[in-house]
């Protein structure tokens, strides 16, 4: 398909501006002006609409396809929340308005949404206080690790050097801890799929700043000894960090705050049904227990005794600003509306059905694919394509087979701890019929691996493109239409 720049025709315009209604008097120094125009396309509105509509049709999406991408919680995003975020009273609100004198009273509705979202999420996670500011999961992680660092600094824990992270963790965990200045110790998992307690004990010492983990972890297994892990980390004054990537597995069934976690981040774009946007915007609120509360970023939203909401900056121990404003507000609105819709029982049912769906797929497929950990799973089930590999068929081949079945593939090759990993997260919003269709497609892929393993290499066949040459993309880097390859 052509690029929009290749459809450009000199003089064509896609948007009409108002006529200048004031005298043209401005004279800028020539040295400050650009010599060459930005070569943006010259196209009509219809050109743009047709171009991007056709582009959209070259995407798989939750709206059009089953999308069981493990660890990403690709649940259905209710349509009404889009309308909520577009309400002019929210969409047109300037973020600096509440910072003006007397400005807070013009933003009471927005501040109430932030305040109430914090309260809901505190109750859901068992944490004492929350900041809505972090703009994605990894941003929440970095915020959480900064809170950890502030805690140790305030206590004079100058010897804290290491953050412990299970080997099954997302890459963002070690990356976030490293960005905040810590060194990483990786601990393997045991046969059950959870962090190996004996090996963990061997590395925990006075230099341990804290531990970061998901629970259930990325193996889809709940760690029934999580309180033991907490006690161990707390015994050296370490901080327990909960990565909320997998919170969809435990709503109403377990709260991180109750089992010893000191800080959590949530992914509103996972658990709370806000759209993933092709790779964001997300939202990664961070909750803390009592020990870390005073370090939370500013500003914080408070409710005054007269019922008015306000921004408060007066927290001398705060780590400071971590975002320009109050968070991905448009995303937070959608999550808040989703929580109001579901309510207490609805949120619990979310988890119940997510776990039911994952276990159902686990059992439908365990005769055909190697199961990574043969036990009850939580909201996602983890397979290995090791049997298929014996026939020369990789996890990625199975992924491409599924694309031709109109199904978005599960996550493949993650977690790194499982060879040829296929990680399936169906979510609660999918019906039994959809799960059966998926299971049957997976079974057909297994059968094909026995009868004609070479057939996979030509897949997918039904897409606008076949498999791309990724090596060429990395060797002859071209990321800009206007420039030669780098």
């Amino acid at each position: 398909m052509k690029l929009i720049f290749e459809k450009s025709v000199t003089g064509r315009k896609g948007l009409k501006f108002p006529a200048l209604d004031v005298p043209a008097t401005a004279q800028l120094p020539k040295a400050c002006l650009r010599q060459d125009d930005a070569r943006l396309p010259e196209v009509s509105e219809l050109d743009v609409v047709r171009h991007f509509t056709q582009l959209s049709q070259r995407n798989f999406s939750v709206d059009a396809n089953f999308y069981p991408l493990g660890s990403c919680t690709m649940k259905y995003n209710p349509k009404f929340t889009e309308k909520v975020a577009a309400m002019p009273g929210f969409a047109d609100l300037h973020p600096l308005l509440p910072q003006l004198k007397g400005g807070e009273k013009y933003t009471q509705g927005a501040l109430e949404v932030l305040y109430e979202s914090e309260r809901w999420l505190c109750e859901i996670t068992g944490m004492k206080a929350m900041t809505m500011q972090p703009l994605a999961g990894a941003h929440g992680e970095l915020t959480g690790i900064m809170l950890m660092a502030a805690y140790h600094k305030a206590k004079g824990n100058t010897h804290k050097k290491y953050v412990i992270i299970p080997d099954s963790a997302h890459g963002t965990n070690p990356a976030s801890a490293a960005v905040a200045g810590y060194e990483i110790i990786s601990v393997p998992s045991d046969k059950k799929g959870v962090i190996d307690l004996a090996k963990l004990k061997a590395v925990v010492n006075e230099e341990t700043a804290g531990l970061m983990m998901t629970c259930p972890d990325t193996h889809g297994v709940f760690n029934g000894q999580i309180d033991e892990v907490s006690k161990l980390i707390h015994s050296v004054d370490g901080i327990m960090y909960y990565d909320g990537a997998n919170l969809n597995a435990i709503l109403g069934r377990c709260r991180p705050g109750d089992v010893g976690f000191d800080v959590v981040h949530l992914n509103l774009h996972k658990t709370f049904a806000t759209p993933h946007g092709g790779g964001g915007p997300g939202s990664g609120p961070v909750g803390v227990g009592e020990r870390l509360e005073k370090f939370l970023p500013i500003s914080r939203v408070i409710r005054r005794s007269d019922g008015m909401y306000a921004l408060n900056y007066d927290y001398p121990d705060s780590i400071g600003y971590i975002a320009s404003f109050y968070g991905a507000f448009g995303v937070i609105l959608k999550a808040y509306a989703y929580m109001l819709l579901l309510g207490c029982e609805g949120l619990k049912q979310t988890t119940d059905h997510a776990v039911l769906n994952a276990n159902y797929l686990l059992h439908r497929l365990k005769g055909h694919y190697q199961v990574a950990f043969d036990r009850i799973c939580m909201h996602e089930c983890l397979f290995s394509a090791s049997r298929q590999l014996e026939r020369g068929v990789h996890a990625i081949d199975i992924a491409k087979f599924l694309i031709d079945q109109n199904i978005h593939p599960p996550t493949v090759y993650f977690p790194l701890t499982v060879k040829e990993a296929i990680m399936v997260e169906p979510t609660e919003t999918e019906s039994k019929e959809t799960l059966d269709t998926f299971a049957e497609a997976m079974i057909r892929a297994d059968e094909l691996s026995k009868t004609d393993p070479h057939a996979f290499h030509a897949l997918p066949k039904t897409m606008p493109i076949s498999r791309p040459d990724e090596t060429k993309a990395a060797r002859e880097v071209k990321v800009n239409f206007f420039a030669q390859s780098v």
């Binding site: 108002p18 209604d21 800028l28 040295a31 400050c32 125009d37 930005a38 943006l40 743009v48 609409v49 171009h51 049709q57 070259r58 999406s61 690709m74 909520v84 609100l93 973020p95 003006l100 933003t107 509705g109 109430e112 994605a136 990894a138 970095l142 997302h170 890459g171 963002t172 990356a175 801890a177 709940f222 029934g224 069934r253 709260r255 759209p275 993933h276 946007g277 092709g278 790779g279 915007p281 970023p297 971590i322 975002a323 320009s324 404003f325 609105l333 509306a337 207490c344 619990k348 159902y360 686990l362 978005h408 493109i465 498999r467 791309p468 040459d469 990395a474 880097v477 990321v479 780098v486």
Partner: protein, 431 residues
Amino acid sequence: MLGVIGAPSIDALFADIPHHLRPRSFQLPEGLSEYEVMRRMNALALKNSVGPVPFIGGGYYDHYVPAACQALISRGEFYTAYTPYQPEAAQGTLQALFEFQSSICTLTGMDVANASLYEGGTALYEAMMMAIRVTGRQKIVMDSGVSPIYRKLIKSYTHNLNFEFVETPVVHGRADRAAIVKLLDNKTAAVILQNPNFFGAIDDHSDIVAKAHAAGALVIESVYPVALGLLKSPGEMGVDITTGEGQSLGLPLSFGGPYLGFMATRKKLIRQMPGRLVGETVDGEGRRCFVNTLQAREQHIRREKATSNICTNVALCATQAAIFMALVGREGLKEMARLNLEKAEFMKAELSKIQGVEVKRSAPTFNEFTVRLSKNVNDVIEAMMLKGFAAGFPLGRYYPGMDDYLLVAVTEKRTRDEILAYTKALAEVLR
């Protein structure tokens, strides 16, 4: 389904969670119908007042968002997809992001751009970290004309790291050349500048770039994309890394987010760049297509050795900006910039006629400018609000000693009548 699983109940599936780890509390209101939630959210939206005519900027502007922008990104095929891990099933997102990167490159005059970062402030922080990696140096010279919001943010991120920060003053509205040059040495990783700066003043930073390069330091410039319709681009100045807030490219103000951070740089620095990059390649049949590329920089491959911890960015906002830049187009961007500039100049002229207002004219400005008032700025803002105007931003909030100063922004949306009404109201307030 339970029969297939062989479990007696859903509860049995949670057997791994021991009793003593069950929630101590889960007290939440019961759910509502969709209509009830809409009604409640609408009531909350109405508690916000978007009534006052906005003359506030501070890096975030009330530009017109064309209907086609919202309509196109409201397609479920865009907004309910995720990171394009399977390129065959994500050419829509990938090509849109490639077009975004290309538009940012031509706008900024740079070689390469990434597929977005969270927002303008975190993008600037990432650029600073990139400069530290590239140079192996740890001293940062930052002009105070850089948004104080961004500067505060960078300071919190680096609080625990051993970097040296020096801030240089703004003199006559612009970056202080002498102060910057004096600080340049063989420890300096980067000079950080902004154009237009927080006071709205525009500048040609070419001379600073030359001096910084002579000292082996990089120059990072944060820019306002709409202004680049007219202003000398960072590429033309020789800047090494440019970042900015893309909210002005077709995104609503939305009380602070989601916004759009962008970053562009020289081709030789591409491997040190953070964030997703979409690259062109071919498929098995030789057809042009797009993939995520140079992923060896990223956290899901490199883990703690990655160039950044960023994973999810703001792909949908980048798509929205790509659509906006296509709609506005080559001539439209110039026209839009010209409208912003002329209206602001008109307003400066009108405000100069009022007793009690001194329009600062030491440096040329784009669509935002500084005025000094004869009365307490915060009181003036409050009084103007009652007259139906968000009058501007009080500079004293971030700049000690500037309690009398107000920062006023004008966009293409402000009409002559609104500007004259504001002027009249301000004259009354100051009387």
